[in-house]
């Protein structure tokens, strides 16, 4: 690997191995876990927007959000999907930061 010379600055609290010899299997596992997180979050992303907001909008429009004038499909298309998107990114940040630490690939 090219970016070697910098002294390994990972401090005390990381129990997982970070040396480069076991790196390749570790790296592959890290990448797998990363892809799994992506798939789950993107499935939710697709469901709330394309699913609830578009494909199923007509069906969901028969349901109303209790106590409001919102038809459910319409609400997902103009409000709900956007709220979900924001939450998704912050969930991603938390999951990935945790994953980085577990595999010892975080930046500091």
């Amino acid at each position: 690997m090219a970016e070697q010379p910098a002294p390994d600055t990972t401090p005390s609290s990381t129990p997982t191995p970070t040396n480069d010899d076991s790196g390749s299997t570790n790296t592959a596992e890290y990448w797998q876990a990363n892809i799994r997180i992506l798939m789950i979050l993107l499935a939710i992303w697709f469901t709330v927007s394309f699913g609830f907001g578009i494909l199923l909008a007509d069906v969901l429009n028969r349901i109303r959000i209790p106590g409001s004038g919102f038809k459910l499909g319409f609400w997902f298309a103009q409000q709900g999907s956007i709220y979900t998107f924001v939450v998704l990114i912050f969930v991603y940040v938390v999951l990935m930061n945790r994953l980085d630490r577990r595999y010892g690939v975080q930046e500091d």
Partner: protein, 621 residues
């Protein structure tokens, strides 16, 4: 104080603020000029990204567009926010780890080819330029409407300001001015929205009032004693007047699907958005700053549909069968007639509203046809004037028009921008709020223009000059080239703003379609498919762009009829198909040609791991 005085004061103060920030944040090196030294805190980067992203169209046009499209307007809401999820999950962290300056940098290095780099440069410049012309025009329009300055001078003032902080400060100056601009624009958008929400639904939070019952000063009048939700009332009014129900819209499902997808993917592929994630110190910061960016954007994007619905219900209630003048109603012997509100005449003067009394009854009929809106006459209002230049008045005092009438019963022309511009007056807010809306519109247009101009200048000085033409120039020379390129780009954008080509509106479809069908697949494959190689991606990009461009040109400019749309997909949505073609070609060709060389495969390995982003970012002296 009157509206003009307030507008001058507020716009003047915000401009002084931007200039102050620009002086404080001058760029000293190419790294500062291109990526603000890579040291922008994530929260600030989120705000700057928000301002960068939300253009004059988001601020002035979107709520109005939704107001006319109803459910169909959801394509913009989901499309322009959902793209950030793709950006945060699939692009931002990896591009930050890659750690160069531009999108063509990534494409060129990852696909070890200057042809790929050149294709990317051309796309980046084209996409950014189409976009920036609209922004400069937006600046001119805001000036002319609020300050009664000629559009040309408005554009020149805007150019001067952008020139100052983009040329001096580069990305560093732009970023910190954008933070200020975000604050101005969001405040300016939210204040009238709060008051409108209170007046229509008695709930100060627009996102909740949107789903509430009609109540409050205006709401009670519209409900006329009935207890009904705002959206139900709106559906009913729309249908009564010959439009489809507000919560239904007029577009087909496949078209809505494709437009949303093209806008999402296009958003994630727009170079001026992507470049923002190179400016933060770490991979972790790139992830979280995408979150902040979307949060800041979502504040406006969840308010806009509420504003659109408020504006629509208020407009329909105010104008339907209203008398243009109280005197005419009196002559006709009507007691307590419904007369148009005062703001109607204000906006008639600026040509955003116009009425032709087709049936001669002195009352306004605003009607749809077959569920869709129809124009009462051809083109924008062209008022008839006498030799002194004064507008001639009709039987009821309305401004007369010289346009050719269309054959339908609709008598009212409404420019969609009015929904945001007229809000403060509709809600009877004090004059300073109107000044604030003007400052907000300018902030939105200027911040986006600056971000785009930086992409153009970077593409020329860095990608073209440094990487392809003259690799031996020093950092100082490159910085000078970047400044000159920015200066030339500002002038070019200004020229297009003053002399807008007819096709400006249509080019938005172009920008997103091209970004979706070129950059997005190239970058995604570059990160996630190690096997993707030079041959595959170049052919993929070329076939994606060619298909998308040909489709848009045929249906937008060469008069292709919508009956012949491929699967009923409009040119706005065709980028989705272009993207699919790009992916398919790139995959197929990559697997039948040689895999990429070892060092490129190592590069892919390294961008997948956050560790070591700091080192990757150092620039060679």
């Amino acid at each position: 104080m009157d509206v003009q005085a307030w507008t001058f004061i507020i716009v003047g103060l915000t401009f002084a603020l931007y200039i102050g920030i620009a002086l404080w944040a001058r760029a000293g090196s190419t790294k500062e000029f291109y990526v603000a030294g890579g040291g922008v805190p994530p929260l600030a980067n989120g705000m700057a990204t928000g301002a960068d992203w939300m253009s004059a169209a988001s601020f002035l046009g979107m709520a109005g567009a939704i107001s006319f499209l109803g459910y169909g307007g959801s394509v913009y809401l989901m499309g322009w926010t959902g793209g950030y999820v793709l950006l945060a999950l699939l692009l931002a962290p990896y591009l930050r780890k890659f750690g160069k300056f531009t999108v063509p940098d990534f494409v060129g290095d990852r696909y070890y080819s200057n042809i790929a780099r050149l294709v990317a440069v051309i796309c980046a410049v084209f996409v950014s330029f189409t976009y920036v012309a609209g922004q400069m025009r937006g600046v001119g329009v805001v000036f002319s409407r609020f300050l009664e300055v000629d559009v040309t001078y408005g554009v020149l003032i805007g150019m001067g300001l952008v020139f100052f902080y983009a040329v001096l400060g580069g990305m560093k100056g732009i970023t910190y001015t954008q933070v200020a601009q975000y604050c101005v624009l969001i405040f300016a958008f939210m204040v009238p929205a709060f008051f409108l929400s209170i007046m229509l639904t008695n709930n100060p939070i627009p996102q909740i009032g949107f789903g509430g019952d009609l109540a409050g000063d205006i709401g009670n009048r519209i409900a006329a004693g009935e207890s009904i939700s705002l959206l139900d009332k709106l559906d009913g009014l729309n249908e009564e007047l010959g439009f489809t129900a507000y919560t239904q819209g007029t577009k087909s499902m496949i078209d809505i699907f494709c437009i949303t997808a093209a806008l999402m993917v296009g958003t994630a592929g727009l170079p001026h958005v992507i470049i923002r994630f190179y400016t933060v110190p770490k991979v972790r910061d790139a992830r979280i700053s995408a979150g902040w960016a979307l949060l800041f954007i979502a504040i406006l994007y969840t308010t806009a549909p509420a504003v659109g619905a408020f504006g629509r219900v208020n407009l329909l209630d105010a104008v339907t069968d209203a008398w243009y003048s109280a005197e005419s109603a009196e002559v006709a012997g009507i007691e307590e007639p419904k007369v148009i509100p005062e703001w109607f005449k204000t906006w008639e003067r600026s040509g955003l509203l116009a009425w032709v009394d087709k049936n001669g009854d002195g009352r306004i009929q605003y009607l749809g046809q077959d569920g869709a809106k129809v124009d009462p006459f051809a083109g924008r209002p062209d008022f008839t004037r006498d030799e002194n230049g004064d507008i001639l008045r009709g039987a009821h005092g309305e401004a007369l028009l010289s346009n050719t009438l269309n054959e339908n019963d609709n008598e009212l022309f409404v420019d969609q921008d009015i929904m945001v511009l007229a809000n403060p007056e509709i809600a009877q807010l004090p004059n300073w709020v109107i000044g604030l809306v003007a400052a907000g519109g300018l902030a939105a247009a200027l911040s986006t223009a600056a971000g785009l101009l930086l992409v153009v200048s970077t593409a020329i000085s860095h990608d073209l000059l440094k990487k392809m033409v003259a690799p031996n120039i020093t950092d100082k020379q490159e910085l000078l080239a970047a400044r000159i390129a920015a200066a030339v780009a500002v002038c070019g954008a200004g020229y297009l703003g003053i002399n807008p080509p007819d096709y400006v509106a249509a080019t938005v479809a172009f920008a997103f379609g091209l970004a979706a069908s070129s950059f997005f697949p190239a970058i995604i494959l570059g990160i996630f498919v190690k096997r993707a190689n030079r041959e595959g991606v170049i052919l993929g990009m070329i076939s994606g762009i060619t298909f998308t461009a040909a489709y848009i040109i045929y249906f937008k400019f060469l008069g292709g009829s919508s009956d012949n749309w491929f699967l009923g997909i409009s040119p706005e949505g065709i980028g989705t198909v272009g993207m699919a073609i790009n992916f398919f070609v790139a995959f197929f060709v990559s697997y039948i040609t040689k895999p990429p060389p070892k060092d490129v495969q190592d590069l892919v390995e390294s961008i997948r791991l956050p560790k070591g982003a700091g080192e990757a970012h150092e620039i060679e002296a």
